[in-house]
């Protein structure tokens, strides 16, 4: 299953609540860590391949904070920036891209109205349309799509949703396991394998990083990228270390 020169990325994920970077467990924001743009710049300088901002309570509060954070970040961060959380229509996408985002990650609004995927892909290109999936285990081989930051059940199977959404023009998938998120117990590799098996668009696995061999497991299970959050925020690891670990496998990673 290993492709020659398969690229692999290590992404810093920053969950944002209002003006703050927060630490989440099972997608619920628990603790304020600091100013997101300060951490974003630090990770860029450390060698993050990309950054993700996820506004975890965007549907409850105004969005002016997020746009301002994106603007400040894009001012001196020169790697791709994906922004998600509370995006409902093309105008929201336009506003984020104008503020300096390169891609948008959409979950809830796409589940409620799948055609939004097609509209975003058509107007801004598939490379801009990241499908964010919040997945919760139903059984060993079955996962359900949740919306609204893990609060609402959709009744939709993750695997079926991936297939439908990719047909509509998704360019990349951000796959977050609600079960694993914030636990440090490792990524949900069965979920990753199952999604990898049904799509040819790149998959970013998120939720559960705890130690370095979790990266190797993710690569073996087919991940094209991993998103790491509080292990970076709390200095339990850094970009250099994560890149070195990935370099011990067959994938191609950036030499820092």
């Amino acid at each position: 299953m290993t492709n020659l020169q398969r690229p692999f990325r290590i992404i810093a994920r920053l969950d944002v609540k209002g003006p703050n970077l927060i630490k989440g467990v099972h997608l619920e924001g628990l603790r304020v860590i600091g100013a997101p743009q300060v951490y974003a710049k630090r990770y860029y300088e450390q060698g993050a391949d990309e950054l993700i901002y996820m506004d975890i309570v965007a549907s409850l509060y105004g969005r002016s904070n997020l746009l301002e954070i994106v603007k400040q970040t894009a001012h001196d961060v020169f790697v791709p920036l994906t922004v998600g959380g509370g995006i409902r229509c093309l105008d929201d996408v336009t506003a984020l891209l104008r503020a300096g985002a390169d891609k948008v990650a959409i979950n809830t609004a796409a589940v409620h109205r799948p055609k939004l995927i097609e509209e975003v892909a058509r107007k801004f290109g598939s490379q801009c349309m990241v499908l964010s999936i919040e997945a919760k285990r139903r059984s060993d081989e079955s996962w359900e799509v949740y919306t609204d930051c893990g609060r609402e059940r959709s009744g939709i199977s993750v695997i079926e949703w991936v297939q439908e959404a990719v047909e509509l023009g998704v360019g990349e998938i951000l796959l977050t396991s609600i079960d694993q998120e914030g636990t440090r117990k490792g990524f949900d590799l069965r979920l990753l394998e199952a999604v990898h098996a049904v799509t040819k668009v790149p998959v970013i696995i998120s939720g559960g990083y705890g130690q370095s061999d979790h990266i190797i497991g993710a690569i073996e299970a087919g991940a094209d990228a991993v998103a790491v959050a509080d292990a970076l925020h709390y200095n339990r690891t850094d970009m250099q270390t994560l890149h070195h670990i990935a370099q011990t496998t067959t994938v191609t990673v950036r030499t820092l």
């Binding site: 020659l4 692999f8 391949d49 001012h75 020169f78 290109g125 490379q127 801009c128 950036r254």
Partner: protein
Amino acid sequence: MSKSCVSIVDYGLGNLFSVTRALQTSGASEIRIATSPEDILNAERLVIPGVGSFRDGMDGLERQGIAAAIREFASFGRPMLGICLGMQLLATKGTEFGEHSGLDLIPGRVVRIPMTDKSGITLKSPFIGWSTLELHDSINSHKNAIACLSPQDAVYLVHSYQYAPESEANILATYRYGGHHITAAIQSGNISGLQFHPEKSGKVGLKILSHFLETVV
């Protein structure tokens, strides 16, 4: 010609903010946004950024009447750089969502990246990630921005289509994916194009842009 002044073509596609900031950080003290034929013809150096489909890109250029101005600018001999879609639009034809005519400044076609690797395994598409480049011998016969790269320098790419120039001599650099050589940079005289995003390639990208700003044709 000063290093300071560069004009960025705005044809409604892509995020001009990143390219602007990256050029400022790379040493450009004056950046103009070019939206009309006059803006383009008066440019000292021209950058054509852009993301999206080939068809939308050409529609954008034609709608604002700037495609003809870009062709005329190219004949002046001043430095011109296409980035990502802006590079692909330099081709004779694009094949995304049907065949469409491009600017035809460097003869060639824009075609899909191979769907499988050399052993038949399906490749992920779009390609998204960082790669080092293989610089071709042609690089010595051009003054260009990427000659400054070290072998370990990686750049950020995101694309499903690539430039296939008619002449190998126009290929400055490729990268390897699934055993294939994928076009990463092209040049013909004063006209150059990068498939990757220098504005998203960290310090390596800024170094390339800085060299572009110093290029004297």
